[in-house]
Symmetry: C2
Subunit: 270 residues, 2 copies
DNA sequence: CGGGATCCGGAGCGATACTG
DNA sequence: CAGTATCGCTCCGGATCCCG
């Protein structure tokens, strides 16, 4: 048994146990036989239905015995068979493993997520910089949500026709122009980018532009939009005073600069 | 650690490992680091895509390390991390369990299936009898397949309007009448019933009728049709000489008796 | 109380095609 | 060779209702 297990054995049995409910139920029945409802309370999160189904599957495989007393109201008890008790020790081994390595696992997940983010950024021509997101006057959701505000309050908007064959370079140029004019970049060229996270609201990330960056093409294709030439993202200057946003409408791609505090002279007159 | 494991720990990690592919991959990487394609050959049954996805998940959780050599063609190797090697011993424990208890498990499955069949039969008002299915001149699929033959060859058909309020008792009576007239029952009242199996063709099962049987109502609802009053099944006399079939058409339920060998006088004239 | 039957959305998974 | 992208389907799993 030092090597791999014989081919046909593992799959046949594993398929039955490869549900997390099966493992949790075996664990819950570890030392007492339980009635249905108590068991339901123990497994925590399982639905009424899944408990019944998984119990039947376990009974089918001889891991659990079901004892129904013919009383009113009915009284049904579930317990592990000898095979089930044996299995339970193995399951406990896996649980012990998870407890022992939990910090490692979480660290690995964070490293993996960071690595993935860096890869996406690099594809867009950006580099993450250590500067963390300061308390911004605008939240990422604010800057991203809703129809883009018209920049009547001292900002500026540039639109490019989506049919334009030079859409991507022109949008990139517009972005660069507005970023410079409205002082998006901090002293080291850094600014805040709203990166979409899988679950939860977007998060501000401090980045800087690398030579040859292509936010509207490769960047939009990577994660700053839905596809190349369809950007959908927002940026914020490190001091939080100006927001830049790129958004894709039906006919045109728009790049918008909006001062976020006291709109007026100093930004627009620059 | 003698009791149940702490609630929040198990689910978090188990969800990642509750896929049979994850366990099989960990097992496959037990002692050698493998390249993608070799690994694909080892895991046996996994799709190209699932291997890639599961590997990424395992890498994400720090169970597997991916080493990509920047050569042409690319060369990527997968190996277990220390945590992965630790996990692997636990997985091996589960595999050992499956090997040790495999006969038990298969026996339990057969017992369960038999029990389920008996329950279904009892619900229809039937009892299984030890008599096994002899080599019947008709296979179950023959008797069940296609549109029911008109009994021009010495048999008899009785139809009942599906709108008839007494459909079920009348169909039951028709079945009983034809069963007696065409000698469906053997000496002990037994006959062969084509029971639908989940996978594979129908199988002949030796049964006998219990008092108060209701093949067309409860029986059809249980497994001899699609619902009460919609029977769809076939029976065969133990000697295989006569087939009875109940089938549900658009307007009527039909009960049909068909001699299977030398149609003619002795059966029809009875 | 302890389920079963049914409906339905979403995740899992496979087949195929394309890429560096 | 070692993936990723897209599509489509199946089955998991939950919510709800019903039954003995």
């Amino acid at each position: 048994m030092t090597g791999r297990s014989p081919k046909p054995l593992a799959p046949a049995v594993l398929t039955g146990l490869a549900s997390r409910w099966a493992l949790l139920i075996v664990d819950a029945l570890a030392e007492e036989t339980l009635r249905y409802t108590r068991l339901h309370g123990r497994v925590d999160g399982i639905s009424h239905q899944m408990l019944a189904r998984t119990l039947r599957a376990l009974e089918r495989d001889g891991i659990v015995v079901r004892t129904a007393h013919a009383t009113v109201p009915p009284r049904v008890e579930y317990a592990l068979t000898p095979a089930g008790r044996d299995l339970r020790t193995r399951v406990a081994g896996m649980c012990a493993w998870s407890r022992a390595h939990l910090p490692e696992i979480e660290a690995a997940r964070e490293r993996f997520a960071a690595e993935a983010e860096h890869t996406r950024l690099r594809r867009a021509g950006l580099a993450a910089v250590p500067g963390g997101p300061p308390a911004a006057p605008l939240t990422a959701t604010d800057a991203l949500a809703g129809p883009a505000r018209r920049p009547g309050d001292g900002g500026r908007e540039i639109g490019i026709d989506r049919a334009d064959p030079f859409l991507v370079p022109r949008a990139n140029a517009a972005w660069a122009r507005l970023a410079l004019r409205y002082r998006l970049y901090g002293p080291a060229g850094e600014f805040l980018l709203a990166t979409a996270v899988d679950d939860g609201p977007p998060r501000w990330r401090a980045v800087r532009v690398l030579p040859g960056a292509d936010l509207m093409g490769a960047g939009a294709a990577a994660f700053l939009g839905t596809a190349a030439g369809r950007p959908e993202f927002a940026a914020l200057s490190p001091d939080g005073r100006v927001a830049l946003r790129a958004t894709t409408g039906a006919a045109r791609v728009r790049v918008i600069a909006v001062p976020t505090d006291r709109p007026g002279r100093d930004a627009a007159s620059c």
